[in-house]
Amino acid sequence: MQSKQIKHPFLTRRDVIGYAILAAVIFLLLPAVLDSFRLNLFGKYLTYAFVAVGLVLCWGAGGILSLGQGIFFGLGGYCMAMFLKLEASTPENTSIQSTPGIPDFMDWNQLTALPWWWEPFYSLPLTLLAVVAVPVMFAFVIGFAMFTRRVSGVYFAIITQAVVAILTILIIGQQGFTGGVNGITDLRTLFGWDIRTEEAKTTLYFVNGALLFVVLMVAQFVRRSKLGRLLIAMRDQPDRVRFSGYDVAKFKIFIFCLGAGFAGIGGAMFTLQVGFMSPTLIGIVPSIEMVIFCAVGGRLSIIGAVYGALVVNWAKTTFSESFPELWLFGLGALFIAVVMAFPNGLAGVWAQHIEPRLLKLWPGSAKQPAAPAAEKTPAE
């Protein structure tokens, strides 16, 4: 045994540079070059980065592929939307309805009173709590049931997909309570602050960016901690970890809940910036697309996940605007390419091809530490 201790610093020099570049892109470059409409679009893309970062921890590190991140994104988003909708549905604003003071879609569906479970969303603190707590609790129920029975891999993926199906059918079917397939629309103010103006959208973009960095730091902390190393051990050799005396299920539940909480925050920020929330944004198809954000960025790279979300969404908007027919071909090819040719995504391409060349150009930095071994091998 070597006596030399392996150190796991919170941030290596590489990480510091990576986060600094990312911060510069999000807080300086994008606001400087984009008009406020495009900036708002990129703000929307960044909300998906919350989900992608959660997936890096769950899937890349933990080996748990969830096809149901849309649920958690949606739950967070709906919690926020319910608060905003209640604020927009004052008796004065809704005086033409047969029951003033309740959201318009409830009135259209002949509801005469607010359902009890909408009541907590009159309060902003409770709403902010719910944005994180509801997805986490939901993830806990799913995770507890599945992981303690050692369900993993593709079975877990299929069951999360079924849960997405259930939730979207439920939301669409219960129009009177949820706004149905149109979702919750016509959101106006947050605590009296109009969120539809350009200034508000720019402010929200920066709030979103700051929150994303908080989430990134939490994710980074988890990855660097003993928990993060255990996760990778669990992914590769669950039985050995179990025989070493660790409760594998508990770690899996924790990481799944953490990913769900991240997704919930992303969903709430999505509602705030885009101004509505609907079941078409969180169904089976969007939930799988969230996985591709993570895969394109590099399933093991936290920073990569953010770029993945940005690049894929930007490509989606650009292509589906100008060549709608080509977009699905492109997205399909992307799924196949990222699996067959680039299992480590953009981060892998960067680490293998771009970074070494950059380092050659930069003579002083020849002693850069290589990426940790775990980041080089793809997950199963």
């Binding site: 899937w59 079924a162 027919e325 399909g332 699996v339 199963e380």
Partner: protein, 308 residues
């Protein structure tokens, strides 16, 4: 709830609802059989399974037009020819996909899932480009139209009976293939222990390819049968995929009997509940029950005893 109906009406309602449940059951069985081979035996997640079904449906649509234009005398027979072609079209595509994609990913099941999802997107867009975004329907031959009156109140549609007969015969076909043929024995041997199967001289790579192709071919036949009871659109395959996977997982992967039993219970539960609740709530409750049971019993209803 029941007091508004007379006794004979209630019997009729249950019979009709039960029968529509049986049609749904046949649909589920047809959808799930191909997947039971691919997922159950090979452990491959094929998210493009629905698109293979739709390919079969489009082949049937093309052939029905062909027969109507050039051989109207034989129109009553076209469906059987179409089924044959659907099987081979989907099977050939399956073989190609196995060769190009799947065989590289046998050790990475989650990646197979993503790659085949990508494939499904590409196929969907191809269908949309070739056949248009609108749903297409085939003209059903005369002998399949109408319904059989059983009593004054109970009537059963003939195309429903046809789909049921088809589901039954394909199930028997798959059963014979899997459990009574040398090929089936090889497939099950590989499923049990790949290395050992390889060592005793089974050509595992070729068997894998054939298994995948046959699974896809069965999906094509299922799609062909669906044209008899509904129309076909480019994205129709995606609607089936969750249900289909749930049926196979609920039944217990690797068990053909389990797949059929789970298709039966899910379809009956859904169609009976549909009468009392709205369609969406019936679906939600059915799926919830299935997921709930799977949480308690993740291995599904029927399991093979395997030493892992």
């Amino acid at each position: 709830m029941f007091s508004d109906y007379s006794m004979s009406e209630l019997t009729a309602i249950f019979a009709m609802q039960g029968f529509s449940g049986l049609i749904l059951f046949s649909v589920f069985v047809l959808m799930a059989l191909g997947l039971a081979i691919i997922f159950g035996q090979m452990g491959v997640i094929n998210m493009a399974h629905g698109e293979f079904m739709i390919l079969g449906a489009y082949v049937t649509y093309l052939l029905s037009n062909l027969f109507a234009d050039y051989m109207p005398a034989l129109f009553g027979m076209y469906f059987f020819v179409a089924m044959f072609f659907a099987f081979f079209a989907s099977g050939a595509l399956g073989m190609l996909v196995e060769w190009a994609l799947i065989r590289h990913l046998y050790k990475r099941p989650l990646d197979t899932l993503l790659a085949t999802w990508g494939l499904s997107l590409i196929l969907q867009q191809t269908y949309r480009t070739v056949f248009g975004a609108r749903e297409v329907g085939v003209s059903i031959p005369d002998w399949m139209m109408g319904s059989l009156p059983i009593t004054d109140l109970i009537e059963v549609p003939i195309n429903g009976i046809f789909v049921m007969v088809l589901a039954l015969s394909i199930s028997i076909g798959v059963y014979v293939m899997m459990y009574r043929s040398g090929w089936g024995k090889q497939v099950r041997a590989i499923n049990n222990n790949r290395q050992m199967a390889d060592a005793v001289g089974i050509n595992t790579a070729w068997t894998d390819r054939m298994t995948f192709a046959i699974g896809c071919g069965v999906a094509g036949v299922a799609g062909s049968a669906f044209t008899m009871i509904g129309s076909t659109g480019p994205t129709a395959g995606q609607l089936y995929i969750v249900d289909t996977f749930l049926v196979v997982v609920f039944g217990g992967a690797g068990s053909l009997l389990g797949t059929i039993a789970s298709a039966f219970s899910i379809s009956q539960a859904q169609s009976i509940m549909e009468f009392f609740l709205s369609g969406s709530m019936a679906k939600v409750l059915t799926l919830l029950t299935v997921v709930g049971i799977l949480m308690l019993r993740p291995q599904g209803l029927f399991t093979l005893k395997l030493r892992k």
